[in-house]
């Protein structure tokens, strides 16, 4: 990738689809590895994508995950149709979760999903409209080393 033109790809995630949970994040990880991004960048983007994907599976009806990659940055935009988040600040608090008892039994609902995204990104914005959906805009800067 010599130019600044972004490589773009879109992934669809269905709410409640636990059988395929993590599939989009794994595909994104493999793509970023193929681009020759540093292992750290790949891991950060994969964690952010995974947590965003799991939130859709647990809470939303469906979502589009847009991936855009340039030599400088990886950007993930997750646009869901779902209940939205009433209090974004509270949802960002580590340990806070609205997961059901069934989800918690499976090990979800640690209240670390959004904090993990924040920790693994360089810019993270959430816009949520209760009753309609949530949009996450996640940016991860690369160290500029892209080999292909």
């Amino acid at each position: 990738m010599a130019s600044e033109e972004a490589y773009r790809r879109e992934f669809q995630v269905k709410g409640g689809d636990f059988a395929n949970a993590g599939a989009a994040a794994c595909a994104i990880k493999e793509l970023l590895k193929e681009f020759g991004l540093s292992p750290r960048t790949v891991r950060r983007a994969a964690v952010a994508a995974y947590e965003a994907e799991m939130n859709v599976i647990m809470y939303a009806r469906k979502a589009r995950i847009g991936l855009a990659v340039t030599p400088r940055e990886v950007r993930l935009v997750v646009d869901d149709r779902g209940p939205g988040i009433a209090d974004v600040e509270l949802a960002m608090t580590e340990g806070y979760s609205t997961a059901t008892a069934e989800m918690r039994e499976l090990g979800f609902g640690a209240g670390m999903g959004l904090p993990n995204i924040k920790k693994n990104s360089d810019r993270f914005e959430i816009v949520s409209e209760p009753g309609r959906g949530t949009r996450l805009d996640i940016l991860i800067r690369t160290n500029g080393h892209v080999t292909s």
Binding site: F18, A19, A21, G22, A23, A25, C26, K29, P39, R43, A46, V47, Y50, E51, M54, L106, G107, F108, G109, A110, G111, M112, G113, P115, N116, K119
Partner: protein, 113 residues
Amino acid sequence: MTLDELVSRLDLKVFTPGLPLDRPVRGGYASDLLSDVVGHARPDDLWLTMQVHPNIVAVAALKELAAVVLVNGRGPAPETLELAVREKVLLLGAGIGAFELAGRLYGLGLKGS
């Protein structure tokens, strides 16, 4: 320390057939909360857990963990095993609990983060 050394020294069960066990292990993390593992485990760690459902495979693959060790004699759900083989994620088993296993691993020189 490699996985096959740990398997023989701690008498661990190997659930995933055909995956190489010569992989080095750096340390370990014990938790049953997936996002806790996503947030805190490091690549090449062993992950000690009670969870046996397929979502553990995605977490292990994403975090590039050395292996998942199911504790207390638990075995993977059939769909977990199938997915693990496909994704080349090693699943091991221990007859003892997480606390006991972590202690023995620590005794062999493995550390947490």
